[in-house]
């Protein structure tokens, strides 16, 4: 017999009524699949230039025109002074302040879905910045510790979200200036 309800997952009917159950007539349950597929035309807004420059191998931050605080990731408007910021270029070198080793991927997009676990999420204080930048640190978990020098590396492969045009790698000794 073909199923009359195509989305039906299952039904369950109570074996017997429990004495005193006020819901006794409502215990049979049917479950169906509900699909919700969404796709957005999503603007990266006033931080778009950060992502555009990643394609050119340049790492930008913003500096508040009022207090001078340097934000990486960039903030077009300084939350401390509400002054409009200026773009500044950083070297892309920095230091790990804290991190986690993730054993599952949230699958937020195709780039993240493709990650091999475990992977390292590092919070990096870039030279010249006052805030921490969270990103993937491509290194074996045992290698990673607070104080580790890292630098931005630029992706060769096409990516899904432009934030994946970059990631961090440890600075090896001979690279150090």
């Amino acid at each position: 017999m073909t199923e009359k309800v195509r989305s039906k997952i299952d039904i369950s009917l109570p074996q017997s009524a429990t004495a005193g159950d006020v819901w006794a007539q409502f215990r049979g349950v049917e479950r169906i699949t509900m699909e919700l597929t969404q796709s957005y035309k999503y603007s990266l807004g006033k931080v778009s230039r950060f992502f555009m420059e990643l394609e050119n191998g340049r790492f930008l931050a913003t500096r508040c025109a009022g207090c001078g605080k340097v934000y990486a990731p960039p903030r077009p408007l300084c939350p401390n002074c509400l002054a409009v910021a200026d773009w500044v270029e950083l070297s892309g070198q920095g230091v790990v302040k804290t991190h986690s080793v993730l054993h599952f991927s949230p699958g937020s997009n195709d780039d993240v879905e493709a990650l091999e676990t475990p992977y390292v999420l590092a919070y990096v204080l870039l030279d010249g910045a006052d805030t921490l930048f969270p990103h993937l640190l491509k290194a074996t978990p045992d290698q990673v510790h607070s104080g580790l020098r890292v630098r931005v590396a630029y992706s060769e492969k096409p990516v899904h979200h432009p934030i994946h045009l970059m990631y961090f790698v440890p600075v090896v000794e001979r690279e150090r200036q």
Binding site: P73, V101, S108, D111, L115, L132
Partner: protein, 399 residues
Amino acid sequence: MSLAPVVAAVGATPVASEHRGCNLRDLMAEAVLDCLADAGMDDLSSVEHGLTSYESDHFNLGMTLGAILHDTIGMIPKPNVRIEGGGATGALALRTAWAHIQSGLCDSILVYGCEKNGRGVSSRTANQLFALSADVDWEMMVGGSYTGFYAAMIRAHMEAFGTSEEQFAHVAVRNRHNAGFNPIAQKPMDISIDDVMNSRPVAEPYKLFDCSLLSDGAACILLSTEEWARRHCPAFDRRAPVYFVATGCGSDTMRLGDRYPELTNFRAKRRAAAQAYAMANISDPMREIDVAELYDSYSGVEIQAVEDLGFVEPGHGGPSVAGGIFDLDGELPVNTSGGLLGRGAPVGATGILQAIEVVQQLWAAVDPQRQVAKARRGLTDTHAGIASISVVNIFERRD
């Protein structure tokens, strides 16, 4: 004579990984019927205002659930407000209701919250939806997740203060143990520190048993003026009056990295606590609070919370927790309900469930095995994200 609202009655469903036989309306209705029974009232005709508490339109597959639930429980045509504040939603809803009563806008308000975070969607979908509650372009798209953000924070705490994995494992063990005395708890367990230490890594240093639960559930609290409760709620005079005496709220940046150099603790929580303590005239919370429900989304978060709430000195959370002063037989028992780790966390209901536990402790109405003797003042601590929003509510028994 205080103008503070009283807790007239409370109600809740059991918390479960999946309430397969109930959709969200059914769950909410069951919690409201439980509240009516607790109040000794036949219906909600005397209640003047509603307040809906739920977090996620996506998890619950609905965008006007405030209106739908308000209709379901028979509150039409009375006014209603829907509150959303991430993980803090339930506590923020109670805080908002507090202001409704204090302002004189109404004398009675039913705060009702629910969520189906359990198994309605796949783990992947659940992770994506939770990731959307982080900073989308900068944290979510790089493979970040809340487990990862919390893990990075507790690692900083470990490096700054010497906090150990065994110390936060104590929270994972104790809260699941406490849940064993709570009939509505989702996952009571008697496990050992070793079980926690040996559970599989999720986001190091957090392991499986350090992580709280995804849950289905609903809860509600009827708040009113004392005069309204005496007139309309038969149960009110049968038990000690409990007042909702103080509420505090604070906020912090969405991204952890924007908080640098502070990575170890929750500024928003310190702010919320300071505001609530000032309102309740509390100067020494460790001595002046008898019972507390803390937001243990991850085991280590409780260690950070006891510091930010001023129960112990900054950096002393680890040894204090592991030393047992927050256990059922300790100086200040916390998470007697089992917390988010053991009782569970249906988001929109979580803050309400925390308040219910504290209120029932003050009524001396819980299972004797988890009852705190002579509890007169209790606190709830609830936050959103990594405490981008933090709410502290304080309840007091006065008889």
